[in-house]
């Protein structure tokens, strides 16, 4: 196994372990959040984002790592995001959690995994069509919120964390 494969495997095992311990792999948790009955996955994701954000922005400021924004291609992100949301609600898993759910015995996730591989194959076939239509509408390129808003990344990060903590208190008060 090459270095990159080994590093990926070790990182993935830890990733899967934390996803399972956080109990976010289950269909009930994912659909439960969409129905505002159980916000476990939102608490988990936002906690990961806030902690990760501080470290990633700091390491980037120090020039140790480089940021890698995905393109702000409006049609693709909006339409693709909407399609994902629809499929996610029916499937009850996202790509990473489907594999983890299979690991903790929820074997119906196998149908989701096969469906997603089929979806990827379908996308590869339709790619020439999408390139000329939805992907060609308006691409603002690989931009970050600090450039869009013209304010410091630390200010934006603070606003996110502040809003998120308020949300956490609301969830706990509601008991969801």
């Amino acid at each position: 196994m090459s270095t990159d494969q080994l590093l990926g495997l070790v990182t993935g095992v830890l990733f899967g372990f934390l996803l399972q311990k956080g109990r976010v792999l289950r269909f009930e948790k994912q659909v439960g959040a969409m129905l505002f009955k159980d916000m476990t996955i939102v608490k988990f994701m936002l906690s990961a984002i806030f902690v990760g954000m501080v470290g990633i922005l700091l390491l980037s400021d120090m020039g140790i790592i480089t940021l890698s924004h995905k393109p702000m291609n409006v049609g693709a992100v909006v339409l693709g995001g909407a399609l994902f949301g629809m499929g996610w609600a029916v499937m009850g898993f996202c790509p990473g959690t489907s594999i983890g759910a299979l690991g903790e015995g929820r074997w119906h996730a196998a149908f989701a995994v096969v469906g997603m591989i089929a979806g990827a194959a379908l996308y590869a076939e339709l790619y020439p069509f999408f390139s000329e239509t939805v992907l060609a509408w308006k691409d603002f390129g690989k931009i970050g919120l600090p450039e869009v808003l013209g304010i410091s990344h630390w200010l934006i990060a603070s606003l996110f964390v502040g809003g998120g903590v308020a949300l956490f208190f609301w969830f706990e008060k509601k008991g969801i």
């Binding site: 990159d4 494969q5 990926g8 990182t11 993935g12 095992v13 990733f15 996803l19 109990r23 009930e28 439960g32 969409m34 129905l35 608490k43 990961a48 806030f50 902690v51 990760g52 954000m53 470290g55 990633i56 922005l57 390491l59 790592i65 890698s68 924004h69 995905k70 393109p71 702000m72 291609n73 992100v77 339409l79 693709g80 995001g81 909407a82 399609l83 994902f84 949301g85 499929g87 609600a89 029916v90 499937m91 790509p95 990473g96 594999i99 983890g100 299979l102 690991g103 903790e104 015995g105 929820r106 096969v114 591989i117 979806g119 990827a120 996308y123 790619y127 931009i143 970050g144 934006i156």
Partner: protein, 180 residues
């Protein structure tokens, strides 16, 4: 705040914060050892898996497909990361005895019944639509939701809002707003 949940898991705040630390360590480690910062993600691996499977029946077709060429069909860092998620979840669930064979999840059963075939069709069909969307948007809740949000990417904030916004609407329509 409780560190253990009622189902014997870890507090989602704790497990999530640890995942944030893992994301930082991973960005650092990939930069140091692989020469390029890689961020946690999952959906590109499904394209590579599709390419690897298609190569067994039609290698020329894969070699001629623009998207497979662009994505590079190979077992790379992220591919192993996704396989690792399976192993990590298996180890964790066996260790704390939360491993459970489940064919139809409760919320699904309440709405569509206990038929495995119906659930299989839902999971498969939902998977097809979700993956087309994820590849179009260039990311899933890992690549956009976690990694992109950590970097304050403009596209990731839009994708994150769309994932959850449409997911909430769709879930209400599919499973109903019934409060049990």
């Amino acid at each position: 705040m409780k560190w253990k949940t009622d189902d014997n898991g870890w507090s989602p705040y704790l497990a999530g914060a640890l995942l944030g630390l893992l994301a930082i360590a991973s960005a650092y480690a990939t930069t140091q050892w692989l020469g390029k910062t890689s961020y946690l993600g999952a959906s590109t691996t499904f394209v590579r898996a599709a390419g690897i499977i298609e190569q067994t029946v039609g290698p020329d077709h894969v070699a001629a497909n623009e998207y497979f060429v662009k994505t590079k069909v190979k077992v790379d860092w992220q591919f192993m990361l996704v396989l690792g998620i399976f192993a990590g979840a298996l180890i964790s669930s066996l260790a704390d005895k939360s491993f459970k064979l489940e064919s139809v999840p409760p919320i699904w059963e309440e709405r569509f019944g206990s038929c495995v075939g119906t659930r299989a069709m839902g999971a498969f069909g939902g998977g097809v639509v979700a993956m087309v969307g994820a590849r179009m948007a260039d990311g899933c809740p890992s690549g956009h939701g976690l990694s992109g949000m950590m970097q304050l990417s403009a596209s990731s904030l839009v994708a994150f809002v769309m994932f959850f916004g449409v997911g909430i609407l769709a879930a209400r329509m599919i499973y109903g707003g019934r409060n049990s």
